[in-house]
Structure formats: C-alpha cells, structure tokens
C-alpha cells in the first residue's frame, strides 16, 4: 500500500479535563473520499482542527504524506497541501467572491510589498494567473456568474460552494469539508455530491464531515464513526451502516442520524 | 553604583509604595471596566484628573492656615475623599452614558470603542484646560495648580535611612481600606455578584435577570469613585495638579492593571505596588527622569511575555 495522504497516529486531544479525541487512528489513502461521521460533539471538527494546525494534539502524531505536520504553523500546513472549509461558513464576507478565491490562490504566490508597489512584471503575471484560476474555480464549483458579488450577498448554498472554491485555490492534495451539505436543499445536495466526485477525479483526496447520511453513503469510499472522541467503527459505507455499535451511538445518544 | 542603590533602597521603597497605592486605586477602574466590557477605558485617566481638581477646590475652600492634625485632619480628609469619589464617580457614569453606551447598543468593535475613549479623554482634558480650570481657579488652565498643605510632613518612624511620614501612611492606609471595601463589595454583595456574572458571561447574566445597563453603570461608578479617591490622595501627597496629570499616570495605572492580571481586583493592588517599586528602584540606577520609560518598558515586556499578568485574569476568562 502506498503512503497514506493523511495519517493520525494515536492522536489524543485534551482541553483541561475534557477529552475531545482519544487515541484516534485514521489513515486515508490517496484519491479516497473518506467520511467522518458521528453525533454532535463527537470530536469530528476537532479532527479537522488538529489536522489543519489549529490545535496541537496533546499526544500522538499527524502525518501528511509521511511527514509529521503537528506543530507546524497553520499557513504552512495550507501551503503543504491541506485546505478546509468551515462548519459555520467563514468567508471573508465583505470581499467579492473572486477576491475570496484569490486569497486562497495567493497561498502559493510570492510577490510581496516591493513587487506590488513597483508593479513588477512577475507581480502582474501572478495577479493575472490568480484571477484566471479564481474564475476557473468559480466555474468548477458551479457559481460562474457571481464573481463580483460580495460574499455575504450570495445565497447560502453558493456560499458553501464559494468556500470550497477558496479552499481549492490553495491547490490542496487533501481537502477537508466540514458539513458541506448543511442547509442545502435536495437538488443542491445532489449537485454537491457530483462536485465532491469531480474534486476527487481531479486528483485530490477528500475528507468529509457530514450529517446527511444519504450523501455520505452515496459519495464516500470509506467511513469512520466517532463517538465521544473515540473511533468506534471504520469501513465501507454499508459495513458501517449495519454496525451495531454505530446504530447504538446514533440511536442512544442523538437524533442526528437523519 | 551599588552603594547608591543600598543607600537609596529604603527611601525608594517607601516612595514606590506611595506611588504604587495610587496606581493601584486608579488601576481598579481599568480592571473593572475591562472585566465587564472588555474595553480599555482610556478616559479613566481624566476621571482621576477630575478627582484631583475636586480635592483642590475643596482644600482651597477650607484653606487651612496651617497643616491639620487629629480629628480635624481626619474629618477634612474624609470630606475630600467622599466628595472626590462622588464627583469622579458621577463623571464616570456620564462618560459611559455619552461615549460608550451608544456604541454598546450597536455592538461596535473594540477598535471603535477605544477611539471613542481616546476622543473622550482629549475632550475632557481640553475642556478642563480651556474652560473649567480657569473658571475654578481663575488661573490659566494649562498651568500647574498648587494646593495648600493639608498634612504635615512629620516623620512617624524610620526604617534604616527611610523616613516614613504621616502623609505616606495616610495614602497607603486609605488605599488599602478602599481596596478591601471594594473587594468585599464585589465578592459579597448582590450587585457584586451581578458584576462578576456579567464579566464571565453577559448573555447568561441577562438570562439570570441581571440588568446589564445597571451593572455597567455601577461598574463605572465604582471604578470612577476609586479614581476619585486616588485623585484626593494624589493631591494631598504631591500638592499640585494639572489638566493632563492623568495622561502618564493613567498609562501607568493601566500597566499596573495588566501587570496584576486585568480583570482581577487583587491583581490591581499587586500590580500597582510592584510597578511603583520597580519604577522607583529602577530610577536609582538610571535617574528619575527615566521613571516613565521604565514603567512603559514594564508594560511592553509584560504584554509580550505574560499578557494575563501575575495573578491571571479573574473577573472573566481571557478572551480574544
């Protein structure tokens, strides 16, 4: 088996006395769509925060393509090739859609103050490339006509897509989607499912947190289930679906399994 | 050099405690308002200034022919302290009403609120310099205004080569009494509970039936009153004041608040004393003209290495 894109090696995350994540072991292969499910408060977003460097794990290691990344600065992790979206949308609300995506594209740009003040050729070239990339990505996620619109004026579903476009602009090898279908209608969910596949087919790996089971079952290659910070099951979608522990976790604790 | 230091160590310590007590009293206002509103009440220094002028007016009106002693001194001190606390407390409430409440209603950013605070600070300083001080004293508003002597500079006792005088004792004792009173008020009474609850979680406090407006008003009143007391003690000790007396002292008191752990009442006392001592001891080596630089450097260093201060932030948890 080739090196996993992402590997969580016995990661524990404690906040004071609260254990948000207990000895989690996750391994994601290149090109997979991997879903992380579980009741509210099970520690799913904690996984994202550990992977993207927002939290430093109390114990354990996070490996990205075989290199340790826990303890690395957040923007550096992004540059290495991990990008994410947020459960509660965190766009730059007062920037245009295009600018939002360009901020993502800037992650790999080099010109700083001098290049910009003197309007040097490579700066102009980067700007042009960034703008083109942003246009392509808005097209790719399916909101091509919205470039100059201020982000906060976009409909909810489009904001979610814009967040995905912004994350894609950093050219991630691994894309983390935090409840991308939340608040979407069935038609939008279907389009989202197609978009996630399209992202995978363009050579990226996807790690997905989602409550919508039909989406999870329809799109993921493998599924892991978290409950109270503990990984209780992992496998193919239909295996997980019939796992008694999973059913118990969902029925016993929460009603989020809809 | 070391000789100098040993020679001046004890006198500097006494001076540091006196300054530190005043810093601590002013720091209480910063710390309480920051705890509840997460706002640096930049104009708090002017509340202190108003306290010094209230005292000046009262002392001048009483105009003792010679320094007072015994019951007369006690009575006059009490009068000055109470009046200064009342005027400063009232001014603080007014300040909140005009400069902060409209912003609070709108959920303005802390940057906005701080700018408003700076505006209020400048406005009050200039209002005093241009209008109020000339009207009160009949002298040009930007001059130093000196007050008659209220307390004799008698040495009560000596430690080594340090003379501890009556006025030193009055400042420190008065400051400590005020601190203890405030601490009890905040920790033992209903209104104090309201303040602490609001500092911790304003929304929960509202749900528990606390009136935020009321709490904020009381917070400003208490902080302002403490600054008024500090103003009275300052005037009694240094016997002069000026329209911008609060500027540097205010930054130092804020430093004291941060040093002790902003939002933490006991921290303010500790921070004030520690800052007063550092400043005075440092001045032995560098000269007293460097005192302000020493204090500001302490501020920068504390914020860099331990922004939660010595005792940590306690009226509320450290939030961004």
């Amino acid at each position: 088996m080739s090196t996993p894109v992402l590997q969580l090696d016995n990661v524990t995350m404690r906040f004071g006395g609260v254990v948000a994540l207990r000895e989690a072991k996750i391994s994601i292969a290149p090109g997979e769509i991997f879903a992380l499910i579980g009741p509210n408060g099970a520690g799913k977003t904690t996984v994202f925060n550990v992977v993207t460097g927002v939290y430093q794990p109390t114990e354990g290691q996070v490996l990205f393509n075989g290199t340790r990344i826990d303890g690395t600065k957040r923007f550096k992790i992004t540059k290495l090739g991990i990008a994410r979206t947020f459960q509660n949308i965190r766009l730059f609300h007062n920037m245009s859609a295009l600018e939002n995506v360009m901020v993502g594209a800037d992650a790999h740009h080099k010109t700083g103050a001098i290049g910009a003040t003197l309007n040097l050729p490579w700066h102009r070239k980067e700007e042009k490339r960034g703008r083109e990339l942003a246009r392509e990505l808005l097209d790719f996620v399916g909101i091509p006509g919205r470039m100059t619109e201020t982000a906060k004026n976009l409909p909810y579903g489009d904001q979610r897509r814009l967040e995905i476009a912004r994350a894609l602009a950093t050219d991630p090898k691994l894309l983390l989607l935090d409840e991308p279908a939340a608040g979407m209608n069935p038609a939008e969910k279907e389009a989202l499912q197609a978009l996630i596949r399209k992202i995978r087919d363009s050579g990226r790996t996807v790690l997905l947190i989602e409550h919508d089971m039909s989406l999870v079952m329809g799109v993921s290659d493998r599924v892991a289930v978290l409950d109270f910070g503990q990984l209780i099951a992992e496998g193919l979608p239909h295996e997980v679906q019939t796992n008694p522990r999973v059913i118990e976790a969902y029925l016993g604790v929460s009603e989020d399994a809809s | 050099m070391l000789d100098d230091f040993l020679n001046q160590f004890l006198p500097s310590t006494v001076g540091g405690l006196v300054f530190g007590s005043i810093y601590a009293l002013v720091a209480l206002g910063y710390t309480m308002v920051y705890g509840v509103l997460r706002l640096i009440n930049f104009a708090h220094s002017e509340i202190f200034m108003i306290g010094t002028f209230t005292s000046l007016v009262v002392i001048t009106a009483i105009a003792p022919a010679s320094p007072l002693t015994g019951i007369a001194l006690f009575g006059v001190m009490l009068l000055i302290i109470v009046l200064s606390a009342a005027v400063s407390g009232g001014a603080a409430i007014l300040l909140e009403l005009v400069a902060y409440r409209p912003l609070r209603r709108k959920g303005a950013t802390r940057l906005t609120a701080l700018i408003s605070a700076i505006g209020a600070s400048l406005f009050l300083q200039e209002l005093f310099a241009l209008v109020i001080i000339p009207w009160l004293t009949g002298k040009p508003g930007r001059n130093q205004q000196s007050s008659p002597r209220l307390v004799d500079r008698d040495t009560v006792f000596s430690i080594g080569n340090a003379d501890v005088r009556t006025d030193h004792i009055i400042v420190v004792v008065a400051a400590v009494i005020m601190m203890i009173a405030l601490d009890r008020l905040v920790n033992r009474t209903k209104i104090g509970r309201g303040i602490r609850a609001t500092a911790q979680d304003p929304e929960a406090a509202v749900l528990m039936g606390v009136s935020i407006d009321n709490i904020v008003r009381v917070t400003f009143l208490l902080g302002g009153a403490m600054a008024g007391v500090a103003g009275a003690l300052y005037l009694m000790e240094f016997e002069n004041t000026v329209y911008n007396v609060g500027f540097v002292l205010g930054i130092k008191a804020f430093t004291a608040a941060v040093l002790g752990g902003i939002g933490n009442l006991r921290g303010a006392l500790l921070g004030g004393i520690v800052l007063g001592l550092i400043e005075n001891w440092g001045a032995i080596f560098l000269g007293s003209e460097w005192k302000d630089v020493i204090a500001f450097t302490v501020l920068v260093v504390v914020l860099m290495f331990r922004p939660t201060g010595i005792l940590g932030e306690s009226l509320q948890k450290a939030r961004a």
Binding site: H93, N94, A107 | L103, G107, T112, L114, I118, S121, V300
Partner: protein, 386 residues
C-alpha cells in the same frame, strides 16, 4: 445588532453619506479616461494650490504655502502612512508619532553631527523608522488589538522621553541648524522660500499614494483585508498573518519616517516636544474622520484637521467671542468629533465600502465589546495561535 438602522433618520451625516456613496458609485464605474482626467485634475490642482489668490481666502493671516507644507502636507503624508496600519491592516497604532520622530531625528543628527548629505539622511530616517517599526511590531503584533494600541502608545512616549533625556541628540533643547535639503543644481534650490518644499512634499504624497493603492490592490492588500475580517480563517487559507501585519507596521513606519525627514529638513529645528502623543491622536482623528481605509477620505480628513484650526485662527469675531485664539480649541473639537463619529458614523465621512460594512457588523479586526454583544464564534480561538 447586525445590519444598519445604525444612524438615525434625522442624522445630517447620513445625507453627507448618501452624497458620498453616489460619488463613489460613479468612480467605481468610471472609464479609464475619466479616471485619468480626475488624476490629472488633482495634480493640476496641487500645482496651483499655493497661488496667492487661493491663499488669501484659505489662510489670510499666515503664509499659505507654509501652511500647506506644515501642517497640511505633513499631516496628509502621516495620515496616508497611518492609514496603511489602521485602515488597511486594521491595527490600532497610537504611537505613530514615534516614527515621525525617528525620521526627523535621523535627518537632524546625521546632518549636523556627521555632515551627511540630506538625501542620505532622509533615506537613513526611513530605514531607521522601518527597523524600529519591526522591532516594536515583532514582539507585540501577536497581542490583542487593544493591547497593541496601548503598547504603541507607550512606545511613542518612550521614544519622546528618551530623546528628551539623551544629551547626545540634544536632550530637551533639541537639535538646531538642521541642514536644508541639498540643492539639485539647475533644477531647484532649497533655501528659505517655501515653494520648493511644497513641491517636494507633493511629490512625496503622490508617490506614497501610488504605492499605497498598488499595495491595496495586490496580494498584500487582499491579505490585510482578509486578516481584518477573520484572522483565523485567513491563516488557514495560507495567509502568513503575522508577516503581513509586521509588513503593514513597517510600511506605515517608513512613511512616518519620510514625513519626519521632510519636516526636519525644512523646519531646521526639532525638539522632543515636536513629537507629542497629541500628534499621534490628531493623525488618528484625521484617518478616522475621513474614513479609515479609503485614501480620498483619509486625505480629506487630514486636510480638514490641519487646515481648520489655521483658518479659524484668523476669524476675528470668533477670537473676540472666545477671548483667545480659536485654534486653541482644536483638540477639544477633535476629541468631541472622535466621540461623535464613533457613535454616528464610525466608518468616517468618506468610507471604503468594505470597511463600512465591517464596522457595522462588528468585525474589522478586533471583535466586539463585551456585555450584550456576542463575538461571532470563538471556536477557533486565540490559545491555538501559538
């Protein structure tokens, strides 16, 4: 608390605002030639501004060109510099005058002690200001915004008091006989006449404006805007937030240093009291009054704040009424204006659209006040920022 309804209907500022919004809409949709026409008009305007015909109205009592250099031109330059820090990067700097002092003292010190060429000392001043900006910023820019403000204030005072206490640079007496800028033979002689200094400062302002606009439109400006709106999200999108904040600090400092160098070269004399806190506050008032983040607004703000006191100084009936120089009331007025502006129109008279929206939402770089106001979300919080 979101949304508008912020300014009451009877608010006269709102009507000004509507007018401004209209002008900005026109500008945003203006064609390239229209924009260049406006630029050209602005330059022509700047060139003929010192004309005596204008001066008799604008400044009847003192020499108009001199007033244009200081305070007006100098304030504009400082305000454009502070705008990079406050308006663009969203960092509140209350000690901006420290960089003005760095520039001024570099020109004065290296010019008088070592006899350096003026232009070399001016470059030195800019460099010193940039270095001190980085030295101040590196340890402090991780602080919460309001703490940063107080630290910068402390820094400004440290610089002033240090200058006051250091005899090597003149102590409280300051430095006299600072050399004028070196003449450029056949082009310009810098002597006692004000005109060359005026054009020098105009050139400086134009250059700084061009740089500032270019930065704003580049990756750098986008990063600043992203940091203002949501620092954590920006960092997670690959923006090295600390680096960009430091950059803003350094660029602002350089502009402050430039202004200081120009000032010292003309004024011939500087002392610690040339650089009081009140000047930092005044420039901040200019930026805020005009509209932080929006250059035309900032320039207008600086102009108004520099010019009005000079103008009112000459109004005789006002002088009689007040019994003293009306200009003495300027700081009282600035203070009151700051309080009023924050309550009624925190985005300033000529705001940038984005800043306006941010301020009304309670974002804009710093989170909201406590009590009654919830922060948007605190899940990705500061302790993670290590």
């Amino acid at each position: 608390m979101k949304g508008n309804g912020v300014t009451g209907n009877a608010n006269p500022l709102r009507r000004v605002g509507a007018l401004v919004d209209g002008a900005r809409d026109w500008w945003e949709h203006a064609k390239a030639w229209q924009r260049y026409a406006v630029y050209l008009g602005a330059v022509v305007f700047a060139l003929i501004l010192p004309a005596p015909a204008i001066g008799t109205f604008m400044s009847p009592g003192s020499d108009w060109t001199t007033v244009l250099i200081y305070p007006i031109g100098t304030y504009i330059l400082l305000a454009v510099g502070l705008n990079v820090v406050v308006g663009q990067a969203g960092l509140l700097d209350l000690g901006f005058v420290a960089f003005f002092a760095m520039g001024g003292y570099s020109v004065a010190y290296f010019g008088t002690e070592y006899g350096w060429n003026y232009w070399a000392t001016a470059v030195m001043g800019i460099a010193m200001a940039a270095v001190s900006g980085v030295i101040l910023g590196a340890p402090t820019l991780r602080l919460r915004g309001d703490y940063l403000a107080i630290v910068t204030l402390g820094f400004g005072e440290i610089v002033r008091i240090t200058a006051n206490n250091t005899d090597e640079i003149g102590g409280a007496r300051g430095i006299t006989n600072v050399p004028h800028p070196t003449d450029i033979p056949g082009v310009v002689d810098f002597g006692l006449l004000p005109a060359p200094y005026y054009y020098l400062i105009v050139i400086a302002i134009v250059l700084v404006i061009i740089f500032s606009v270019r930065l704003q439109k580049s990756r750098v400006g986008r990063a600043w805007a992203a940091i203002r709106e949501d620092e954590d999200a920006a960092e997670l999108m690959g923006v090295p937030t600390f680096k960009f904040k430091l950059l803003a600090f350094a660029i602002g400092a350089m502009i402050g240093g430039l202004a200081g160098g120009l000032h010292a070269g003309r004024a011939v004399f500087i002392e610690p009291n040339t650089f009081p806190f009140i000047l930092s506050a005044t420039i901040l008032a200019a930026v805020v009054l005009g509209g932080a983040g929006n250059l035309p607004g900032v320039i207008l703000g600086a102009f108004v704040i520099a010019w009005l006191p000079e103008r009112f100084r000459e109004v005789n009936w006002l002088k009689d009424l007040l019994g003293r120089d009306p200009a003495e009331y300027r700081i009282l007025l600035f203070g009151g204006v700051l309080v009023l502006m924050m309550a009624l129109r925190p985005e300033g008279l000529l705001p940038s659209r984005r800043r306006k929206a941010e301020l009304h939402e309670g974002t804009g770089g710093m989170g909201t006040m406590g009590a009654e106001v919830t922060g948007p979300d605190t899940d990705v919080s500061t302790e993670a920022a290590k």
